[in-house]
Each structure stands twice: as C-alpha cells, then as structure tokens.
C-alpha cells in the first residue's frame, strides 16, 4: 500500500474530512519523490521498500552491455607439437616443441615424412599444410660458436711445442678445457685440476696467466708453422704478434694494480695525488737543476763532460767570433776600468802636445821637483809618469796619470750615482740577495779570519775583497752541489741494494739499510734525520711509524719547496719492510737525475699492497732491462 494518507487516517479515526483549504501547503512539496516512478529494471515494490528518496548512490543495474565480438583479422594459426634437431649437438637428441605450421595456398605434396612428422589436414579450406621442413636448421644452432682449437700431432708437439714445466698431457688437458669452455679464461682457470698420470708429481697450481701464456704460446707456434711469418697477411700477423707478446707477469701485475685501485681508500687516493704533484715538481725542477749543476761545473773550469758539452758549440770559427764579441761586451759592461787602459795613451799624447807656459818661476822649480818625485810614485796604470805640466786651464780630463794618481781620479764604478763610499762597497760585496746567503758568506768570512769591518777601504783592498767573495760564492755553490750529489749517490746505492735486496730477501734489505746509512755521511740534514728515524722506528715494524718517517723526511727534504703534508697515520697491517720504504723515500724525494726511475718509484708508492710491491719491483727491474 502506499503510505497511509491523511484521509485514510481520518477515516479510521472517524474524524470529519478535512476541508480542502489547508490542503494546498502539502501540495508544494515535491510529491514525485514519493511516487517514485518505477526505475528501470526495478519493481515498484522494491523501490517502495527503499523509501521516498533515492539513495545517494543509486545502485542501478543497467542493462548489461556485452562486448562486441572481436573481429578476427586472421584465421587462427595452427601450432603443432613438432620434434626438432639441434645441429649443434653431436648426439642427435630429438626434442619436441611447439612450432607454428606454415600455411600455403598451393602446396606441393609434402616431402616424405622422415621423422614421423604428421601432417594433419586442415579442417577448413582443405589446404595442405606441412610442418616446417625438417631440414631447416634449428635457429639457435648458429649461436654455437666454436673456438678454433689448435691441434697438433705428437711429432709437432715434440719438435716445436715443448716447454719446461708443461708436459704433453697437461697441454692437451689445457687445450681441451679451453675449447670446452670457449676460451672463457676465468672458467678455465677455475676448472683446471690437472692430475698428472705419474702421481709422483704434485698437481701444479697454475695461475690464469700461466694458462693463457701456454695457450698463446702453442697457438702462436702453430700459427707460425702453418703460415710462415713472411706470408702472413696483416690480420694474421697482428694476431701472431699479440700472441707472442703476451707477458704473464705484466698481466698479473696489471690486474693487481686494478684491484688495488678498486680497493683503495679515499685517504690513499689523496696521498697519491700529493705524491704525483710532488713528482711533477721534481720533474719541472729537474731541468733547472741540471742547468745549475752544469753551470757550477763550468765555473770551476771543470773538465768538460764526456758527452759533448758546452765546448762543442764553439767549434766553428763563426761561433768563436761571436763568443769573443759577447765576452768583450760583457767585460765592457762590467768594469770599464780594465778596458780604460787603452784610452790612456790617447789622453797622454794630447796632454803632452799642449804646451802650457809656466805661470810663475816658483812653479817651475816645484814642478820639476815634483816631476822627478812623481816619477817614483806608482800610477794606477803602472805606466811611467809623463813629465808634463797639467795646464791650469786645460780640459778637466787632460791630466797625466801621475796627476790622476795624486788626486785619485779614476773612472767611476757606477755611472750616475753622485757620492759613494769605499766602505760601502766593501759592505755591499758581503751582502747577497737573500739573508741566508749573506749569513753563509759571513760564516765563511769569519772562518777565514776576516773581520767584520776592513779598516782600509781602498781600491785595491776592495778589489781583492771582491775576488775573495766571488770565490766564496763558488765555494758555497760547490757545497750545495755536494750535498745534492751525495744524496743522489745515496739514492743510487740504495737502489742498487734494493734490487739486490729483493732477490736476497731480508738480509739484503738490512745490508742495504746499513750501506745507505754509511754511504751518505751525516753532513746533509735530511739524510741524518731519515737515518735517525730508521733507527728509531726499526723496532716498529708496523707501517705507521714508517709512514710517519716517510712523510717527515719528505718534509725535511722538501723544506726548500712549499709542500709539507702531514704524516698520515694509516693503520695498515701490511708487513712492509722499512728498508724498502726508506729506499723509496730517497728515490722519490731526491732522485732528479733519472726521471724514469723517479716515476717508476712513485708508482711503488701508489700500490700499497704487499703483493703489489713485489710485483712492482719486478716490473721496474724488467723495465730497466728494457729501457
């Protein structure tokens, strides 16, 4: 029933029916909600159950739509469970797989079904279909790449391929493995378990590089045998070359280096960078030092170096002439006093030719008196004095040497400066460009018992002093040079001992250490400090001390330069020998003569692993042999 209306209720209650007047208000309401016109798909009663209002979310089931049937553009393909053969296999195993049957409009009769291939007729169309031709190669068979296996007969082996440490058995085994594992060397190496038939020998543990080396060796020789070298084409020859140039030691060390690089810490990388910078500085200054050294040697008038030194460039007459001109000009610029002597004769004849009348009788007498006496005095030029009067009105420069001597006239040292003092010059001669140099010169002078102030600052004394100071300069340079050279000798002997040390082991290292200490007398500071540090940290054995020493001694060595990196307290547990480090230190910090050695030794520094060390030493040794 629809909701009980008011009329019904009144009827029930017996109330009089309402007049229509109050009726209109309810009419305002939307009654349609109550009516609830039948929604589609739902019974009237059901919607009545739900109530007057529609639920907020109308769950209305619309008429379901069905997807239209998808269109098939093609006919459905037929697949069949077909057997196939893999040409890559040797055993003829026949497997089956789903393969799509090819459809064809016109088809000749299928070939004889050799493998029992069924050819069911198609239901539709009656077109004949057939299985994919059994002869079609299995499409994955082409991926079965086989490595070309070097093969040799017994004779060939005996004649050409024999090598120490490799029996024929083992070689064959190796060849098998390699071809089995497609030259995948890590796998080969892993699987390599050769048990020699004569059980007396222990199975050797071969490294990867050894296996490779053997394999390449065999391949190379076989290659050579098949096509002699002269008739190889480029590709073959390059292959041959690669095979023969395989160096197992180098390879293993290269791999170790790469591994080391992979596992190095940030700290090590920093250190490496610093060392490289240091090396660069060494390289740059090496040239400079060479020039300086050569300079010093020349200054000493040292016997010229054996390999055509500076003298060679003056072999031609033209070069000699130029050299003479240069020297002349240089001399002229320096002390024109020396060259002025040639001007004197120009002066004196001029003055001699200017006859000056004597003004007073007294002057005559005194003039002659003076002349005779002036003959006795020495002139700066050392020439005999001229008995001529200086003209009172003569030009200023027309004075005899004698007069000049009397009045101390001579060409000036520095043109332009008005007043100078003799003692100033002496003082200036003592001082050098840098205060340290001045101190050194002062020290030498006190050693030579020359007082601070020379009391007679005359020309002669000043000249003599100048020469002396010049020689002092040479001495100081020589001493500096000596330090450097001594250090280098220490390095070289250390290197020598180092190389002997690697072979000999500990005792060699110790010998080298003692020799290193003895070879460099404790004159140079740096050496002393590093020697002391060896003694101090000899007991240490750990690397920490060694590293500190290295950095500290490097600091002391490079005191002249600007670097000073803090000691790195790396707490590594490698048991490196301090002696080797010491040699490396010296080599690194001081070696400037041989750039290659320095570079290679720097590479030592960079590889911190113990094993890396050893292999690097070997590398350097071989590198030296090669270069």
């Amino acid at each position: 029933m629809a909701g009980a209306t008011g009329r019904d209720m009144r009827d029930m209650l017996g109330l009089p029916t309402e007049v229509d007047a109050p009726r209109p208000p309810p009419l305002k309401k939307q009654k349609t909600a109550e009516k609830r016109t039948a929604e589609r798909g739902m019974a009237r009663e059901v919607s009545a159950l739900m109530g007057e209002r529609a639920p907020p979310v109308a769950v209305i089931q619309t008429k379901p739509k069905y997807k239209s049937k998808s269109q098939r553009l093609q006919k459905v393909g037929k697949w069949e469970w077909a057997p196939f053969e893999n040409q890559a296999r040797q055993d003829g195993l026949v497997l089956k797989h789903w393969s799509k049957r090819k459809e064809a409009k016109i088809r000749p009769k299928p070939l004889e079904g050799t493998d029992g291939v069924t050819a069911p007729t198609d239901a539709d169309g009656g077109t004949r279909t057939e299985a994919p031709a059994p002869e079609a190669p299995y499409k994955f068979a082409r991926y079965n790449v086989q490595v070309e296996r070097p093969s040799y007969t017994e004779e060939v082996y005996i004649n050409h391929l024999q090598k120490d440490g490799w029996s024929k058995e083992e070689t064959d085994y190796l060849m098998d493995l390699v071809s089995e594992y497609y030259q995948k060397w890590p796998v080969v190496h892993d699987r390599y378990e050769f048990k020699p038939s004569d059980h007396s020998d222990q199975p050797k543990t071969r490294s990867l590089e050894d296996l490779k080396a053997r394999y390449y060796y065999v391949s190379a020789i076989l290659l050579r045998l098949t096509t002699p070298i002269s008739s190889m084409n480029t590709a073959q020859y390059s292959l041959y070359e690669t095979l023969t140039n395989f160096n197992p030691a180098e390879e293993s060390s290269r791999k170790n280096l790469a591994a080391g690089h992979l596992t190095r810490t940030a700290l090590e990388a920093q250190e490496e960078e610093l060392l490289l910078k240091e090396l660069q500085r060494i390289m740059l200054s090496q040239k400079q030092m060479e020039v300086e050294r050569r300079d010093i040697r020349d200054r000493l008038g040292y016997p010229p170096s054996t390999n055509a030194g500076i003298a060679m460039q003056y072999n031609t007459s033209a070069a000699l002439a130029i050299l003479y001109q240069n020297l002349l000009a240089a001399d002229k610029n320096k002390r024109n006093q020396r060259m002025r002597h040639t001007n004197e004769p120009a002066n004196t004849p001029a003055s001699a030719q200017a006859p000056q009348p004597a003004s007073a009788g007294g002057r005559d007498g005194s003039a002659t008196h003076r002349d005779s006496l002036s003959n006795a005095t020495t002139t700066p030029a050392g020439r005999p004095s001229r008995a001529s009067l200086p003209g009172p009105t003569g030009a200023a420069n027309d004075l005899t040497p004698a007069e000049k001597a009397r009045f101390l006239i001579s060409p000036p040292e520095k043109a332009g400066s008005s007043i100078s003092f003799g003692s100033d010059r002496l003082h200036r001669l003592r001082t050098m460009k840098s205060t340290t140099q001045t101190q050194k010169v002062g020290a030498v002078l006190t050693q030579l018992n020359i007082p601070e102030t020379l009391h007679v600052p005359s020309q002669r004394v000043a000249d003599e002093f100048e020469k002396l100071v010049g020689r002092i300069g040479i001495l100081l340079d020589l001493r500096k040079n000596r330090e450097k050279e001594e250090n280098e000798i220490a390095i070289r002997s250390a290197e020598k001992q180092l190389k002997a040390g690697t072979a000999a082991g500990t005792e060699g290292g110790e010998r080298e250490e003692s020799r290193v200490e003895s070879s460099a007398p404790a004159t140079s500071e740096g050496r002393r400090s590093s020697a002391q540090q060896i003694k101090l940290e000899g007991g240490d054995g750990g690397n920490r001390g060694v590293r500190k020493k290295r950095s500290a001694s490097l600091t002391s060595e490079t005191s002249g330069r600007s670097t000073s990196f803090k000691p790195l307290a790396l707490d590594t547990t490698f048991a490196l020998k301090p002696e080797w480090f010491e040699a490396m230190i010296l080599t690194l910090a001081q070696s400037v003569e041989d750039a290659q050695i320095a570079r290679k030794n720097l590479v030592f520094q960079l590889a911190h692993n113990h094993r890396i060390m050893l292999t690097f030493f070997a590398l350097v040794a071989t590198g030296h042999q090669r270069h």
């Binding site: 040292y302 200023a396 007043i419 003092f421 020359i450 002093f465 001495l475």
Partner: protein, 262 residues
Amino acid sequence: MPAPTSKRIRNTQLRRHFIIGNESYVLPHPLFPDPPDGHTKGWKVYVRPLPNGPDMTTWLKKVQLKLHHTYANASRTIEAPGPFEVSETGYGEFGVEIRLYFAPESSEKAVYREHYLVLAPYGTDEQKARQERENLVVSERLETIEFNEPTHDFFKTMVSEDQFEWLKVLEGRGKGRKKELVFHGETEPTAQLPERPIAAVHGDSGTGMAAGGAWSRLYERQVLGQLQQSGASLDQALEHERREMESRRRKMEELGMAVAAK
C-alpha cells in the same frame, strides 16, 4: 746668475781618503779639566784628513756631529776650516751620526756616516794592555769618499795644487826673496795613502796613530796580505771540494751503470 750645476765630467771619479774616529781617555786627564760627576771618560770624535793628504776643506765645508740625545746641544756643527772635532766627557758608548756637507761647487747633498764611539780598551790582550798603559783608546776608520761624475768647477778645485798648501810652511828662501810655501817633510803630499805611517805634521796629538799616521800603504798591504792569506785557505777549500766532486762524479757514473745494468 751662474747655473747652479755646471756640467758634469763623465767617466770620472774623484776619491779622497779621510779618517773618522775617536779618542778616549780615562779621566782625570789634563785635556779635560773639571768633568761633571759620573763621567769616567773623556773623548774626542773627529773627522780628519790624511796627514799627508790634501786639504779636506776643498770638498768638505761643514760637519755636523750628532751626539747622544742626553747631551746638551746634541747636534754639534763645525764649519771649515776648524778641526772637525768634538770633545766631550761621558761614560757610555753610542753611535755618533756624522753628517758631511760638501762644497757648494760640487752641488752634492749631504751624506751621513755613522761612527761608534769606543771608550773601553778593545782588541787582543796586549793591545788592551797598551791602551790602558798609555791611557788612550783610539778607534779609527779610514774612509774613502768617491765623487762620481764631479762638476767641472769641483773638479778644478780638487786638482789644484792649493790643496797641499796647508802642509807647506812659509819659508823664506833667503834674503830679498818673497816668502813662499815650501813643503818640508819626507814624503811628497799626495792624495794617495802614504807609503809608511808618518808622524803628524803639525804634531798636535803626539802619537802618530792618533793623528792618522797609521794609515799607510804599509797597512794597506797588511790588510791585502791578510785577505790574500784568507784567499789561499779558501782556495784550498775549493780544491778540496773540487776533488771531492770529481770522486763523486766517478762514483755516480759507476753507480749509474750498475743501476742500469740490473
């Protein structure tokens, strides 16, 4: 108006020796009557020419000596001709700044020299003993002043004979002749250092040393000799270094070969 600077003569240098020094006496001393209390030494600082040399006033017109600021009138100025000396009493040593003013025709600026006033005996023991005995401590220095590129006027004054006039003695040559300046003495006056130490011509201080007579060629030769001796030992050291260098060289070569061979 004449040009302030006449032309300068190129490539010429005039040199003059002179002495800067001081003498010191332990008080009481007749030269220093009535010193104030606390002053233990009397001293005289001076700038003198060589006893045999030309007159200093040709080029030096004025000397200003700056004493320690504790002295009244610390700045003492002395003009030519007077002896350029300052006598004072005191007890402490200090540096005296000497300012030399040159003759106007040289048109040069004044220069400073410093002299350290020495009062106490110094040197080796016997030198000290002698100084104490004679009650005279002298500290002198020979200084050479070099005038580079002097002006023409200056040059003329510096080469005139008049410079030696001060050494000459007016002497008559006999009756009827004018008096003239004649030089007495052993060595001819010259601007160079005298051969041997000579006594002071005017004999004002007594000992030859104080009068600058110690400065002679002889002394110069001594100094030169000393330098040469030092030079000889230096040469020895150089030789030694050379030899070592040679041996090191050889060693380096053989080491180099050994290293390369390995």
